[in-house]
Symmetry: C2
Subunit: 144 residues, 2 copies
C-alpha cells in the first residue's frame, strides 16, 4: 500500500518544502529549498549533474559546491538517499527513503524502484550480523 511505482507525487509548495526542511533540522535557505523541491518533487533519480543543470535554468548562479553540499545535507537529514549503483559511475539521489530495491534498465541505464513487498529474501548466514540488504536488479521492464 502507498507504494506508487513510477508515479510522482503531486508537487509540494516552497512553504511545504521549507517546513519539511525545518522539521528535519535543516536551515532552509533559498538554494536548499530550490534543490529540495526539485529532487523531492520533480526529479526522478537525478544525478548531481542533473540537479546542477536544472539549477542553471531555474536558479541564478548556483555553484556545483552548493549542489553537492545540499544533497549531502538532505541525505544526512534523512530526506534523501544517495545510491551508488554498481555499473553506474555517478551517484543518483532517491527521494524514496523507505526500504526498497532497485532496477536498472540495461538498455537505457535508467533506474527505478522495486517494491520490497514483491521480494522474499531469507538468508542463512551464521556469524554475520546483517545491518542492511541492498538488491540491485539488472534487466528490463516489459511494456505491457
Amino acid at each position: 500500500m502507498g507504494y506508487t511505482l513510477g508515479l510522482k507525487r503531486s508537487c509540494l509548495t516552497s512553504e511545504e518544502i521549507e517546513r519539511r526542511l525545518a522539521d528535519a533540522g535543516v536551515h532552509a535557505t533559498a538554494q536548499r529549498i530550490a534543490i529540495a523541491r526539485y529532487v523531492l518533487c520533480e526529479a526522478d533519480h537525478p544525478t548531481a549533474d542533473q540537479v546542477k543543470s536544472w539549477a542553471d535554468k531555474n536558479f541564478p548562479k548556483m555553484s556545483m559546491a552548493t549542489v553537492y553540499n545540499t544533497l549531502k545535507i538532505l541525505v544526512a537529514a534523512g530526506l534523501l538517499k544517495k545510491i551508488a549503483f554498481p555499473h553506474l559511475n555517478e551517484a543518483v539521489y532517491d527521494d524514496n527513503i523507505t526500504a526498497h530495491y532497485h532496477l536498472i534498465d540495461e538498455k537505457t541505464g535508467r533506474m527505478s524502484d522495486l517494491d520490497p513487498a514483491d521480494f522474499k529474501v531469507t538468508a542463512n548466514l551464521k556469524g554475520v550480523r546483517i545491518k542492511e540488504i541492498e538488491i540491485f536488479i539488472k534487466g528490463r521492464r516489459e511494456l505491457s
Copy 2:
C-alpha cells in the same frame, strides 16, 4: 560444493595461467600472465591500485595503463569480475566468477563473498525481465 569462503585456492603456475589465458582467447604476454596470476591466485578483492603496487614490487616498469587494460581484458574474457560496490569509491576485482553475493564489513570496508546457497530470494515482479541480481549486505562478520 566447492565453495571455499575466504580460503584461497592453491596458487597456479605461470604455465597454468598461460593456458587459462589462451583458453579464454587472451594473448598471453608477460604482463598479463603476471597480473592474472596475482589477481587469480594471490590477491583478495584487490583494487587496481593494489595490483599496481604489487606490480611495482614484482614486475619491472609496468604502467598503470597496462594494469587497467589487463584487468579489463580479464573481465571481458570472463576470468574476473569487476565490482563497483556502493559506498566504495574504487572498483575491486573478484576472481570468483560464479554467481555470488557480497558482504561489506561496515567497520573495515573489507569485502567478502557470500555463498548464494545460503540465500533464498524469490521475486514476484510482473513485467520485469530479470537479467542479473546483485545482493550487497552491509554488516559485520562475528569472530566466533
